[in-house]
Symmetry: C2
Subunit: 473 residues, 2 copies
């Protein structure tokens, strides 16, 4: 069999998962050429939380990072994580904004768009898939793995088929919580490989200590590529370490050939960077998290959950709130727990326990119930939907949510012009998601002293009633 290939995530998910997305471009630049020389099938260098965090905390202009990394690593395909119609923000944006974002990213050198949707609705991924292909880049259609009575191997294969029909160049299994068991992985990868004629890639996290074994199963089942990172930005809540994966594959006919001396060299270069980011790293993120196994939700969701319960004086309600999660998920059509749904479900579970079930509903949870996030994996509980419609004063929808959003680019451009800011497409798309940060960026070009951040803390969302946590996706 042909060797499996590895994608290296250290410049994106590695530091997002283990160091609150705080690695600076300057720290990446000496490493990028070495990574570029190693033959990875992709370098994940952008997207996910890096754009928000870079702008907010590091005062880096997102496209400048991409330009710099492309220059430092010109040979290997660059890959980014894109939240479909949410781009790299936390709500749906107009099609023209999505299209412009993808076009500008491709223009700056992005080669692979890994596109997912937080409720697994392929319609929310269609615009970005089409835009990526139009720009001559690859569009990878991504399935968020989750468990529920309606999530079967067949349901995931059906979704994979839909994405392939939309033109996806590959299908990615995205296991944000690190909870997919190896034998389930084998079945799923085998089924996707059998039914679809395109490559199958897999992305997981070692949070619960399952990730490396899951990759071995995926490789046995014929997966084409796995995401790995490089220690110390690896293992734990991050991706399994590349050197470790190579050790695990000793004796396997699909073992790929990556230069271990170079891996060690990069790892030595990363150590001081990791140490420097000490206030953003945490012991808990580095070890096998038994609580994730116990509670079967993403690790980041759990730690955020505890913080919020504490803020609410509800520490003693942990088990009760936790038991409410499947109730909320079921009512909301068994949505996956991924940015931002993990946070929406977590907050709603807390409110259900505090005020009584569905007495107090967040606008986000209501929007999910009313279809404004897209088609949920199972139907929403009709009673809950009715309640949300009354509460929000709006009707449920079944169309693609972005069909209701008017083109926005010219509006954004006008706003930028009014503020005396650059009005190119790059600025429009970033401004669409992060208006305050863009203004701050131009007001204060110097990095601010950083406030000690909470572990895994990620940018606050626009919505006042909840904080969106990016669970290392």
């Amino acid at each position: 069999m042909n060797p499996v290939t590895f994608n290296c995530t250290v410049l994106r998910d590695g530091h997002q998962s283990l160091a609150a997305t705080r690695m600076k471009t300057a720290d990446m630049l000496p490493i990028a050429p070495i990574l570029d020389s190693m033959g990875f099938s992709a370098l994940e260098t952008w997207g996910g939380a890096t754009i928000d965090a870079g702008l907010r905390f590091l005062k880096e202009w997102p496209f400048d990072r991409l330009d710099a990394l492309k220059k430092a690593a010109p040979k290997t395909p660059h890959m980014m994580l894109l939240r479909g119609q949410n781009i790299v923000g936390y709500t749906n944006y107009a099609d023209d904004v999505v299209e412009a974002f993808v076009a500008m990213s491709a223009k700056h050198g992005m080669n692979i768009f890994r596109i997912f949707d937080c409720v697994n609705d392929p319609r929310n991924m269609e615009t970005s898939i089409r835009a990526a292909k139009k720009a001559g880049a690859q569009a990878h259609g991504t399935i968020c793995y989750t468990t529920s009575p309606v999530h079967t191997t067949q349901s995931f294969v059906d979704m994979g088929r839909e994405l392939a029909d939309m033109g996806a160049d590959a299908i990615v299994i995205k296991d944000m919580a690190g909870l997919i068991p190896p034998y389930v992985t084998h079945e799923l990868v085998s089924a996707l490989k059998k039914d679809l004629n395109i490559p199958v890639w897999i992305h997981t996290h070692d949070t619960a200590g399952l990730g490396a074994s899951t990759y071995l199963s995926a490789i046995d089942a014929g997966v084409d590529a796995c995401d790995v990172s490089i220690s110390p930005f690896a293992n734990g809540t991050g991706q399994p370490d590349c050197l470790r994966m190579l050790a695990l594959l000793n004796g396997n006919s699909r073992k790929p050939d990556y230069d271990t001396d170079k891996l060690i060299e990069v790892s030595e270069m990363l150590k001081p960077i990791y140490d420097e980011l000490g206030k953003f790293t945490s012991h808990r993120n580095e070890v096998v998290d038994s609580d994730t196994l116990r509670y079967q939700v993403p690790g980041g969701m759990l730690s955020n959950f505890r913080t919020q319960l504490k803020e609410q004086g509800m520490e003693d309600k942990f088990e009760e709130v936790f038991a409410e999660i499947p109730v909320v998920r079921k009512a909301l059509g068994w949505i996956p727990l991924v940015t931002p749904t993990s946070q929406i479900v977590g907050v709603q579970s807390m409110l259900n326990v505090k005020f009584g079930r569905w007495k107090n509903i967040t606008p986000q949870a209501a929007d999910i119930a009313l279809g404004y996030y897209g088609r949920t994996p199972a139907p929403v509980d009709p009673e809950v939907q009715k309640l949300c419609a009354e509460k929000m004063g709006k009707e449920p929808i079944t169309c693609r949510p972005a069909d209701l959003i008017k083109p926005d680019m010219e509006n954004l451009r006008r706003k930028l012009a009014e503020k005396g800011l650059p009005t190119d497409d790059e600025h429009c798309v970033i401004y669409a998601m992060f208006p305050q940060q863009v203004e701050d960026f131009y007001k204060k070009p110097e990095p601010q002293p950083e406030a000690p951040a909470q572990v895994n803390a990620a940018p606050a969302a626009a919505a006042p009633s909840m904080t969106v946590i990016d669970n290392g996706i």
Copy 2:
């Protein structure tokens, strides 16, 4: 296929590997009945470093612990790790001492003797295997996994055959460094299962992040039992956590049925104990140790190595000393790195670098070269052997080393009597290995304030020139 079974190591290797063997009997007693109710194929409760450390640091009489644990967990077979002719000490003892130790252990309720030898010489295991069987207990013949040009699957199967012929009730693959790759495991387990008619068990450590995947491979190849521990005394340098292994086995037809609620209950009981042992635990032991992957030696050996190099003012020689390890191993007949050979090889490598190759030889290294530890996996370098013979003024031997040791029990009894100490067989066998500690035990019945111990530090050996470190075997 029949379900695999688990042995629970938390009361021995779990705390030996992650908390310097410091768990007290009093802490174990509330947990033992729960473990006893869970259906583990064995509870590892004694042996290894627990006897030395319990006596030395906790002032606990070893047989009292065994009695207490047997009473608290009467249903499940108890298992202990025995270093063959070294019993639980660091040198060879007379046959009558080995026999008495095994007989007394069995009398106090030990059911399974897991017997290994540090140079993999089955002759060093023969007396203890015979004694265990005579006492009506099970004797498990154990293969120390290591890599070298002479270690092949066939060589391990040949050793397994020898052990089976000696009467071993099962064969155990012991991977003290946590470095056996899953695919090698599959081949080895398959070969042992095919060639031998007795159960095959496996023991590893998750030090390098390979352990859990290795178990999955072993289970796929038909292994009968795996050693697991319970978090927080699990993963890292310890055995993979039981709950984690169950999660990994979801969807596998050999998944065993252990009560996850009880596992969580035990884990919650263990947390405060782990926290209380804080000065003996270390972050480094809890995470995937990339250096173990890089250097391919047991993790404990590496950290001890660094400490000793520092003491010798040789920190800058790390890579050089490290490169000397295979040279020393080769000269000494490719012995495995396990207690006490890992330490002997480590110290000799340091001396070779410091004073020139073989200019300064420890008595222990010389004894290995001269056959006093048994038959090495490959012949010893004849030049080195000649040098050692001259230096030590003694001839090489090829017989079973213990054949040269005169019966010692009556001598030990007389010495104990002279000191006014109890003279029963239990005291004789413990006194044989730890004379000073036994005297101290009777002098100072109250626990002393413990000095902060170095990470993974284990009892000092009798030999003045080196410290024996028990690498979490």
